[in-house]
């Protein structure tokens, strides 16, 4: 059941062959089985069950709130959820229970979705592996797959991916096999024998990949949803900046963050997007135009699509597997009737430098509020206000965060304006 898409489950909920309570219970069980992967920081199973019951009442009365009424969702732990711990994977916010919920959380809740919990992430979204959290790293579910184990034993068969009409299917070990593996070793026998989930929204990716949730929200600034999506074999979609409200998303880079969606099908992505997208008066950077919902047609035609592949993206060090995947996708589009051409983005090499500078600057600024006065961790040392600040921030942040704050402050003293100009230049290339 859990490998069905949300859309398919929704159909079954409406025709009565499944109930939301069933679905949620099964997701809870999947989550328990996969707990060694450490996808969740906080579980909200009790409230999930009661919300599932409410959804069942609505659906049986013929009044579902939306297509996704009764469907489990999960949120990365940097989305504020009222009354539920929101830690950003950091000691600094380990005791932070927000007094409000993010707009995306409110919108999804308002349409009947059921929150399963808060997922693990790199501390304050700084990282691309989901390994830098005070709650430990999140592990890629594929580290437990038969195929991976076979490869590790030397049997090298390239991974095969099949895509048909917007749905990815992959051969997972049969459920019994997987269960056996999990029960045999409750904890990983070899602590090093696991793959990263990608990040910084790794927990959400794992939650969707393991069936603990159907849809999960993450935040993508420099690939933090697309990256773990690809590592965990699920869809990850980053909307254009300004489409989805950031009110309630604890920011990394205010000018680049985008609340993004994980799902196991593109239809689910579209359904979730419809609920969360659109102008929010509490976020002045959201576009004002009315959001126009769409549905993907079953017989999608790409005949009028022109796809450009930048030559510069064939970067040195790219693995053969990646190159093959690119070629394969290019052929796919070509065969389907799209026009595929080579393009050039000559300033690509500067993009990462630009991003690093801008990111560090915004981080230094956004992290200035963590001083232990109004909320969050507060150090015991308090000989003076400044001593309190210094100790609190040293204790509350890990090396990565502190490193970026230092770099950011340095850049703000000197180079911010240059970086923004380059950033704009890069954008115009697109």
């Amino acid at each position: 059941m859990v490998l069905l898409t949300a859309r398919e489950v929704a159909l079954r909920l409406r025709n009565g062959s499944l109930s939301s309570t069933d679905v949620v219970s099964q997701c809870i069980e999947r989550s328990r089985l996969a707990r060694v992967l450490n996808a969740f920081i906080t579980h909200t199973h009790e409230s999930a069950m009661s919300r599932a019951a409410e959804a069942d009442r609505r659906i049986s009365a013929g009044q579902p709130l939306s297509q996704l009424d009764g469907i489990p969702v999960a949120f990365k732990d940097n989305f504020c959820t009222k009354g539920v711990k929101t830690s950003c994977g950091s000691r600094m916010l380990r005791n932070f229970y927000p007094p409000y919920s993010a707009t995306v959380v409110q919108r999804l809740a308002g349409k009947g979705t059921v929150m399963m919990g808060k997922t693990n992430m790199d501390e304050f979204a700084m990282g691309s592996g989901s390994v830098d959290s005070i709650y430990g790293p999140s592990r890629n579910p594929w580290s437990r797959s038969v195929r991976y184990r076979e490869r590790r034993l030397g049997d090298a068969e390239p991974l095969r991916v099949q895509a048909t009409s917007g749905q990815v299917s992959y051969s997972l070990p049969s459920s019994t096999e997987k269960q056996k593996t999990c029960e045999d070793d409750e904890t990983l026998s070899d602590e090093d024998d696991w793959l990263i989930a990608g990040g910084s929204s790794g927990g959400s990716a794992v939650a969707v990949a393991t069936g603990a949730s159907f849809i999960a929200l993450g935040s993508d600034t420099g690939g933090s949803v697309r990256n773990p999506a690809s590592y965990c074999g699920v869809f990850g979609y980053k909307p254009t900046y300004g489409l989805v409200s950031r009110h309630g998303l604890i920011p990394l880079v205010n000018s680049m963050d985008a609340p993004s969606i994980f799902a196991r099908s593109t239809d689910d992505l579209a359904a979730a997007l419809e609920i969360v997208a659109g102008h929010d008066i509490r976020d002045s950077t959201t576009v004002r135009e009315q959001y126009k919902p769409f549905s993907l047609p079953d017989d999608l035609s790409v005949k009028d699509l022109h796809v450009g592949i930048p030559t510069e993206y064939h970067a040195p060090g790219l693995s053969q597997g990646m190159l093959d995947a690119w070629s394969w996708v290019a052929d796919l589009f070509d065969n389907a009737g799209a026009k595929v051409s080579r393009v050039s983005l000559p300033h690509t090499q500067y993009s990462i430098v630009c991003y690093s500078v801008l990111c560090a600057c915004e981080v230094a600024s956004n992290m200035a509020r963590y001083d232990g006065i109004q909320f969050g961790h507060r150090s015991e040392q308090g000989s003076s206000t400044h001593a309190l600040y210094a100790a609190t921030r040293h204790e509350g942040f890990n090396d990565v965060v502190r490193g970026r704050i230092f770099a950011g402050n340095y850049f703000l003293l000197k180079r911010y304006i240059c970086a923004t100009r380059s950033y704009k230049g890069l954008g115009s290339c697109y």
């Binding site: 504020c80 604890i250 109004q374 909320f375």
Partner: protein, 546 residues
């Protein structure tokens, strides 16, 4: 006594010819008292002060600049704090339209150019009353710039400013920014208590050009700014409540030399303190430089108990605010009639021209009208425009009796009525003498039915509760003006007769004895004689008698 001073002056002549320039043309008196005058004159010649002000005016909007919480003054501690004001993670700023309108209106009232596009920045520093660790302000591109404020410098209590003088000071820019919270330092318990009610309230920071050269000019500018802001109702300007605060930048230099290092005195919250602090600071600069010291660019606060300025910040650490554009706020756009968008809902966009048309009559214009159309003196015009209630009373009097000369009305108002109010410790708004009754008194004076002395007595009686109409009071007390010259003549003759000593002294060339004679006549006639006529007759008598 003479020799030391002469030597001193001579030595100075040798060493610094220029300094003594002015003194060469005045008599150099050889007496003890005037010695000090020479010294101060010498010093005064040397230094020129340069003063610029940064004024923070709280916008009187119902909610804060970027959040919806309230802005009332004495609210319970930490009860007007939105999540954004406390910098709760994930919250974002949402710009308050009323605040932008206030900024534009104020910019227009100060003759500024309004920037159609302005931007917000973050100014970073760590302090307990700044929850986010940065203040949102408009450093790069503020809402208005390049304005001017015109005012009159006049303070009868200050020797250098007894004659009204017009002055014009440039406004460099006007920017919108957040106010910080309040911290109260409890030294005894080693605590700092933080109240965030004020955090996030909208401020207009008005930066003047350093065009002023003494404290009275600065005080006059602040007073005029108060009147302007109150007239357009963008700030209630209650300095005692902190809704208007002044920072003064002061430096001194010798004419012809480059500008001196400046110091900044922050958070002056009364006009009196502005003048005092600037005076003290100028004197401090002089003292330091003349004793061979160097001025350090530092921030100071004014201790009103001691009347001195004290250094505020750590001298070693120079603050770098690491300015950064505020990424959560798109550029602020305002429009005028030429480009007002038709697609946008009118409730969203701001039209500069609409606001300009809605500007009320400003103080300078009111004063101009009073002086040029109604014939009042500059001093009286200043007095009226500075006090709304007084202006209202004055206008009511004129409305009650339109035939009255404004100058006459103002004269009686300023001399007699205000004296009564001052004595009774009342404000004009508490005055129980109704404008129309006051107008009746003025009419009697204008018709020359009574003298100015009688007017004073009449006003006092009526102020203190006399309910009879003025005409009846005059009847009862027999206060009609004496117009019969013969009668006046009789009084004058009596005065001359009864005061031979005064007459003699007057003839010897001591004018103040004449007053005694006039006084005699006035007393005997119960103040009902015209002093000019009395003077004329007395003088004639005295010249005849000899």
């Amino acid at each position: 006594m003479a020799t030391p001073i002469a030597t001193k002056t001579f030595r100075s002549l040798k060493h610094n010819f220029l300094k003594i320039n002015n003194l060469l043309y005045t008599r150099i008196p050889f007496c003890k008292k005037k010695h000090q005058i020479i010294e101060t004159a010498k010093q005064a010649d040397q230094w020129q002060a340069v003063i610029g002000l940064e004024i923070h005016a709280q916008i009187n909007s119902a909610s804060k600049l970027f959040s919806g919480s309230g802005t009332s003054f004495s609210s319970v501690v930490n009860n007007q704090v939105a999540l954004f004001d406390a910098a709760i993670p994930g919250t974002l700023p949402v710009l308050n339209k009323k605040c932008v309108e206030a900024g534009v209106l104020t910019g227009l009232a100060l003759n500024c150019s309004i920037n159609k596009v302005s931007k917000f920045d973050r100014k970073h520093y760590f302090y307990a009353d700044l929850p986010a660790g940065y203040q949102i302000t408009q450093q790069r591109q503020p809402i208005a710039h390049n304005g001017r404020i015109n005012f009159t410098v006049f303070n009868p209590a200050s020797p250098k400013h007894t004659i009204p003088r017009d002055m014009s000071v440039g406004i460099i820019q006007l920017q919108l920014e957040q106010d910080s919270g309040k911290s109260l330092h409890d030294e005894d318990n080693q605590h700092t208590l933080v109240d965030l009610n004020r955090a996030g309230i909208a401020l207009m920071e008005i930066v003047t050009a350093p065009d002023m050269s003494d404290s009275e000019e600065a005080a006059a500018l602040v007073k005029e700014l108060q009147l302007v802001l109150q007239a357009i109702d963008t700030c209630n300007c209650k300095m005692e409540e902190g809704s208007l605060r002044v920072d003064a930048n002061v430096s001194i230099h010798r004419p012809g030399e480059p500008l001196g290092v400046r110091t900044e005195v922050k958070n002056l919250n009364s006009i009196r303190f502005v003048a005092k602090a600037i005076n003290y600071e100028i004197a401090e600069h002089k003292r330091i430089l003349e004793s061979g010291g160097v001025i350090v660019n530092e921030t100071k606060s004014f201790d009103f108990k001691t009347g001195k300025t004290v250094s505020m910040r750590d001298k070693e650490m120079k603050q770098d605010y690491r300015f950064m554009p505020e990424p959560n706020l798109p550029p602020l756009r305002v429009y005028d009639n030429s480009d007002f968008p038709t697609t946008k809902k009118s409730s969203q966009a701001i039209n500069i021209d609409t606001l300009r048309a809605a500007l009320p009559v400003l103080p300078a214009e009111k004063r101009h009208h009073l002086v040029h159309q109604q014939g009042l003196s500059v001093a009286h015009a200043l007095m009226l425009v500075a006090d709304d209630d007084l202006m209202q009373y004055y206008n009511s009097v004129l409305a009650a009796s339109p035939h009255l000369t404004p100058k006459l009305v103002m004269s009686v108002l300023a001399t007699d009525l205000l004296a009564c109010l001052y004595k009774a410790k009342l404000a004009i708004s508490d005055c129980y003498l109704l404008p129309r009754l006051f107008a009746e008194v003025c009419s009697l004076l204008q018709a020359e039915a009574i003298t100015t002395t009688t007017t004073t007595k009449l006003i006092q009686l009526m102020f203190n509760g006399e309910t009879l109409p003025p005409a009846d009071i005059i009847e009862n007390y027999e206060w009609h003006k004496i117009t019969d010259r013969a009668e006046i003549q009789r009084h004058c003759e009596e005065a001359v007769e009864r005061n031979p000593k005064a007459v003699r002294k007057y003839r010897e060339g001591k004018p103040r004895y004449f007053t005694k004679l006039v006084y005699h006549v006035q007393t005997k006639s119960n103040g009902c004689t015209d002093p000019l006529v009395v003077t004329e007759i007395l003088k004639k008598l005295i010249s005849e008698v000899s």
